[in-house]
């Protein structure tokens, strides 16, 4: 895209348009996008070509006298005129100052045999027209024009369009609806020549000019420039020439034309995608939303439940290791429902269920991602909303699996037995043994005081017996106490472990969410933001 830097205003706007076109596919209406591309191409081409020349097109309905006016301005009988309609089928061009015009004429696709030149040296008093390329277009409203878009094409390309109207056809819908209304905003590069003025009386002409002015204003042409002309009598041709000469000598018509085109396109773009509040939409995913997503994903994995389960299962299982053994033994004598159902293997399996495996529930994962996208895309244009949703879901199919795999790495092993449990179990058994010894001592001391062998005389010492009894009871109590204490320790450890586990799991979930959801969403949000920034930049 070559943009001549010496022209401020247009260049940044065209750059913005380039950006819009770049970001537009899939978001903008196809027609609009291709029109925008077309304008970029047109602007690029036109700005590259001779800026010394101004392309002025004579456009109008059949029979309004374009060719006659063309001949009157050029002063030569270049374009055939006639009474048969339509007369002109091919565009004729007349160039004032041929230098550098050829590429421009090539670009306009004017056939060689329809190009004419006015060497300015020969024409005195026409120096101000130097640089003019005057085009005589075919009509746009005859039945021939239905299949020929030549006029359409050149009206789009010309820097300045002179609409040649006549008293009979000046209010035709084919001119006004298709072009004038469409080209509202092109005031600076549109001139209306009310031709065949010789057919009217002075009063009629005045009335007609007023009517035409009103009509044009109603259609959005704010400052219509209407020039009554007559190719037959030559009246008004000079003033039309001077209007054209003004545009030619300023050499700004091409720029004005492109600006007007750009303005027009901008209006359409804005209509299809209003900037409005769009730039207030978040460009990034803020902390609260990230947290929300992580929370929702943690719920989908069941992180809190996993922690709770771990705590409970540890407490339950630790009982068999560190708990006071006596209640356990008593329990064994109770009937086991599993056994009575002859489902012994199931009993083992039930214990095996609690393996601490972790997995993600895919429906909840889907809903979590959906909620994020919903929240972010509030108030967006539906197209962008869909795009944000798609971005959020781009890796959804892999997400539950990834979460499951990643979190399984840190999942607690619920069948794990820490060393200190074993030590405490030994300690409990030692206490049981001590109790047994104490009980044996008491029994021996009370029942067989005399019959003990000498080596065990000490046992018979009746004075020691109360102490032994006390000791025995204490051992029992110690067992119970240490059971309770170690259970508390287990629970404390488990809750600490749970906190650590939850933190770790959250960290991992957040990491995965960042990589698989937030990043693609932020890319799309960035695109959204850039698009609307460019849209705003269009107006320059």
């Amino acid at each position: 895209m070559t943009v001549v830097t010496a022209r401020p205003g247009l260049a940044p706007r065209l750059t913005a348009l380039t950006k819009v076109v770049e970001l537009g596919p899939g978001r903008l209406d196809q027609k609009l996008l291709s029109d925008a591309e077309g304008l970029l191409l047109l602007a690029g081409d036109r700005l590259k070509l001779s800026s010394e020349h101004t392309v002025v097109a004579l456009a109008g309905g059949t029979g309004s006298g374009k060719s006659s006016l063309f001949n009157a301005i050029s002063g030569l009988e270049l374009s055939p005129t006639g009474v048969r309609r339509p007369t002109t089928a091919r565009t004729h061009a007349c160039v004032w100052g041929l230098e550098g015009a050829a590429p421009l004429l090539d670009w306009l696709q004017i056939q060689w045999r329809h190009r004419f030149a006015r060497a300015s040296a020969l024409d005195k008093g026409e120096s101000q027209l130097h640089g003019l390329i005057l085009l005589d277009l075919p009509d746009h409203d005859s039945i021939r024009a239905l299949t020929d878009t030549e006029a359409d094409r050149l009206i789009g390309l010309a820097d300045l369009v002179v609409w040649v109207l006549d008293p009979q056809k000046y209010a035709d819908a084919s001119t006004h609806r298709r072009y004038v209304t469409e080209l509202a905003g092109h005031d600076a590069v549109t001139v209306f020549a009310l031709n065949q003025a010789d057919r009217l009386s002075a009063e009629e002409l005045a009335e007609l000019v007023i009517d035409l002015n009103d009509l044009l204003r109603r259609e959005g042409v704010e400052h219509p420039s209407v020039v009554p002309t007559s190719a037959v009598s030559g009246r008004g041709v000079e003033s039309l020439k001077s209007v054209i000469a003004g545009a030619v000598s300023r050499r700004r018509a091409a720029i004005h034309k492109l600006e007007a085109d750009l303005h027009r396109l901008e209006q359409r773009l804005r209509k299809s995608m209003p900037v409005g509040e769009a730039l207030n939409a978040p460009a990034t995913v803020d902390e609260a939303r990230r947290m929300g997503l992580t929370d929702a994903l943690c719920d989908a994995v069941g992180v809190p439940a996993v922690g709770e389960a771990m705590e409970n299962v540890y407490a339950e299982r630790s009982n068999r290791w560190v708990g006071w053994p006596y209640p356990r033994w008593v329990n064994r004598f109770r009937p086991d429902p599993i056994k009575s159902l002859r489902l012994e293997d199931v009993g083992d399996e039930i214990r095996g269920i609690a393996t601490g495996s972790v997995s993600a529930q895919s429906a909840e994962v889907t809903n979590a991602v959906q909620a994020l996208a919903d929240g972010l895309s509030v108030g967006m244009h539906p197209v962008w909303r869909t795009a944000v949703h798609q971005a959020a879901r781009s890796q959804l199919s892999k997400l539950p699996q990834t979460l499951t795999e990643n979190l399984t790495e840190v999942a607690p092993r619920l069948d794990r037995v820490p060393g200190w449990w074993r030590v405490l179990k030994v300690w409990q058994y030692i206490l049981v043994a001590a109790l047994a010894v104490g009980v044996a001592w008491l029994l021996a001391g009370l029942l067989l005081p005399g019959s003990l062998p000498v080596s065990l005389q000490l046992l018979g010492d009746t004075a020691a017996l109360p102490w032994v009894g006390l000791m025995t009871v204490s051992v029992l109590g110690l067992g119970a106490l240490s059971g309770i204490a170690s259970r508390n320790f287990v629970e404390l450890g488990a809750s600490r472990e749970r906190e650590r586990l939850e933190r770790e799991m959250r960290r991992r979930v957040a990491g995965i969410a960042e990589k698989m959801v937030v990043e693609p969403v932020e890319r799309e949000l960035g695109r959204h933001h850039a698009f609307y920034t460019a849209m705003r930049g269009l107006s320059g």
Binding site: D299, S340, L341, I353, E364, N367, Q370
Partner: protein, 677 residues
């Protein structure tokens, strides 16, 4: 019929009577006239070659019923014309072949002596009467009435491609039926309405003013000039146009005024116009004021004859040719006026235009040329319109020919119904079909959602995440074992442990999320399908791309109810095997949870929960409860989804799409009309 003619005659001024007599006098002398023409008149062969272009069509059908009439019109018209204006010079001036060829015929007519009016009149009446036997007319009227009924109620709610055109066509049809066809069929004897249509600035109003010899319609340099249609007719015909049903939708006013608005019609009586023909000056067909096009087309729809006005500068314009195409399609009787022809360019332009017309298959249409001349006070010099006046007089005088022209146009319009109404019906069918498709999209999407949920149940996708953790908690913490021994511990009505409540809640949340996810996807799919199907689908589906806000609440309520239901089932129907019940008791709340886990663990029959509940409840009763629970859950979800899909159905219904019978009625009405004709 006869009385009407008598009346006319009684009231008409002398010249009218005279000219009428001339016509009616003819038939007895028909033979001699023909002999005269063929034998004595050298120009006649020319007439035979040039004339057939326009003349034969009206003649041929007539020839069958009243052959003696066939030649009468031609010979009569020149007779009548000179009396009204100075036709001969004008005709001679004109380059139009028709006028030139007609001129010689002027001679035989005056020679005709007055004879009894009775028989030819009767003959003419007979022609018309024969076309319109009372029963047939009644049948036709009722068929047309039925057609109007079935067209009137049509709605095209879906914004499909072609819907706007169909709406327009529907309105056009209705307007044409009411403005023209029905009144015309009811009273075939009504004066012929000749509508003058054409481009803005072509000089329609000037033409009308010139023919009326007074300024009835505004002329000027401003474009578009005429906004309110102006009708001029003979004072005797005024009653018919002021009170008649023709163009009944338009308010009658006396003179054009800017306040009149678009929906009015100026009726101006003038003696200058022959009886039996009325001219209607219409707004343009191609100016920036688009309402004008609509009015002009409505007028044309009500016309018995069209006069199409174009100019030397305009004759190649696309809108002009669109109008000609329309006339051709409708089979309307047409005359073309090419005005503003510069004298020096006359031959070239005319030749070119005629060639274009001929290429278009319209080379045989009556043509009039008006030279570019000074328009004084909104009127052309009288000499310019003489041909046209002649033509009108001819129509006025020749009752039969006029009736024929009227009938032809009417037939053309009725013929056009043969294609236009079915086209409308076809579009209606498209609408109905698209509606059906959109509806089936909704059903398909929600059916897909149900299948998806079923799949989630079967694949065990539900026993993941929190549910899995809670299940581990439940079993690993010993609650599971404890729940099996409840009776031994005694005490029913014990509060559910926190774990059980949490487990139950987790299951509910899991189920909910599965339902919500499926509903989300279904809604998105509906919208995607609609958007893909038609532009209209996208607009209809606006704001419906998410499930309703109540879905969450309703789903949660439905699942809670289902859980209750399952617990109840387990309590009442899950009578444990006798061998088991002696040994173990169980808590139905817990057991129902285990049962749900078993159910959602999919087909893994070897799984722990499955075996546990099977051992406790027995295979038979497990199957029973399983089937009941599952079908109950499906029904509940189905109801939820029905509620959701209702929103789409409502959106479809609110669009206003007729049912299938409307199209059938249209076809039927068209068929009946054909039969009645």
């Amino acid at each position: 019929m006869n009385t009407a003619m008598d009346d006319e005659r009684g009231e008409s001024p002398g010249e009218q009577t005279l000219s009428f007599r001339a016509l009616t006098d003819l038939p007895p002398d028909e033979d001699t006239a023909q002999v005269d023409e063929t034998g004595d008149q050298p120009p006649e062969p020319e007439a035979a070659t040039d004339e057939p272009e326009s003349e034969p069509p009206p003649e041929e059908p007539q020839a069958e019923s009243a052959p003696e009439e066939s030649e009468a019109p031609e010979s009569a018209e020149p007779e009548a014309a000179p009396e009204e204006s100075e036709a001969p010079e004008a005709a001679a001036e004109s380059a139009v072949p028709e006028a030139a060829s007609e001129e010689p015929e002027a001679e035989p007519a005056p020679e005709e002596p007055e004879a009894g009016d009775a028989e030819p009149e009767a003959a003419a009446g007979g022609v018309l009467e024969e076309e319109l036997p009372p029963e047939a007319a009644e049948a036709l009227m009722s068929a047309l009435g039925a057609l109007r009924e079935s067209v009137a109620g049509l709605r095209f709610g879906l914004d499909l491609p072609g819907a706007a055109e169909a709406k327009q066509e529907c309105a056009d049809l209705l307007a044409q039926l009411e403005d023209y066809v029905l009144p015309r069929v009811r009273l075939k004897t009504a004066p012929a309405l000749i509508v003058i249509a054409g481009s803005t600035g072509a000089g329609k109003s000037t033409l009308v003013n010139s023919l009326a010899e007074r300024n009835v319609s505004r002329t000027g340099v401003r474009r578009p000039t005429t906004g309110v249609p102006v009708l001029i007719c003979h004072p005797d015909d005024e009653k018919w146009f002021v009170e008649g049903e023709l163009l009944g939708g338009l308010r009658r006013i006396d003179k054009p005024s800017s306040a009149a608005g678009m929906r009015s019609l100026v009726v101006v009586p003038t003696e200058k116009l022959p009886q039996g023909v009325a001219l209607l000056d219409t707004p343009d067909i191609d100016s920036v004021v688009e309402e004008h096009h609509e009015i002009a087309h409505r007028m044309l729809d009500a016309a018995d004859l069209w006069i199409f006005v174009t100019t030397a500068a305009r004759y190649a314009d696309a809108p002009a040719w669109n109008l000609l195409r329309l006339a051709k399609e409708r089979g309307a009787r047409l005359a073309i006026v090419l005005s503003r022809v510069q004298t020096k360019a006359r031959d070239v332009v005319l030749k070119h235009f005629v060639r274009m017309l001929t290429e278009y298959g319209m080379g045989e249409i009556d043509r009039f040329v008006i030279s570019e001349s000074k328009v004084a006070d909104g009127r052309l010099p009288d000499s310019e319109v003489t041909d046209l006046r002649l033509w009108l007089a001819e129509l006025s005088v020749d009752e039969a020919r006029r009736a024929l022209a009227v009938k032809e146009t009417l037939n053309g319009v009725l013929d056009s119904f043969r294609t236009r109404v079915p086209a409308l019906a076809r579009h209606l069918e498209t609408q109905v079909a698209v509606r059906g498709e959109l509806r089936s999209d909704v059903d398909a999407a929600f059916l897909g959602a149900l299948t998806e949920i079923d799949k989630a149940f079967r694949s065990g996708a539900l026993v993941h995440g929190e549910v899995l953790a809670r299940w581990q908690d439940f079993s690993g913490s010993g609650d599971l074992m404890r729940s099996l021994q409840l009776r031994k511990r005694g005490g029913a009505g014990k509060q559910d442990s926190e774990r059980i409540i949490a487990f139950r809640a987790a299951l509910r949340a899991g189920l909910e999320s599965v339902i919500v996810a499926a509903a989300n996807r279904a809604c998105e799919e509906v919208i995607a399908r609609w958007r893909h199907r038609a532009e209209a689908g996208a607009t209809l589906g606006e704001g419906l791309d998410r499930p309703s806000d109540e879905l969450m609440r309703h789903a949660s309520r439905a699942i809670a109810a289902w859980q209750e239901h399952v617990t109840e089932l387990v309590r009442t129907e899950g009578v444990a095997k006798r061998s088991v019940s002696k040994l173990v008791s169980f808590d139905p709340d817990s057991l129902s949870l285990i049962f749900m886990v078993a159910m959602f663990s999919g087909g893994r029959a070897e799984g722990v929960p499955h075996r546990l509940v099977k051992a406790l409840l027995g295979a038979e009763s497990l199957r029973g409860i399983g089937a009941k629970a599952l079908s109950d859950l499906r029904a509940r979800i189905g109801m939820l989804f029905d509620e959701e899909s209702m929103r789409y159905v409502q959106a479809l219904d609110s669009a206003g799409i007729p049912d299938e019978s409307a199209a059938t009625r249209l076809y039927q009405a068209t068929y009946n009309l054909e039969v009645a004709r």
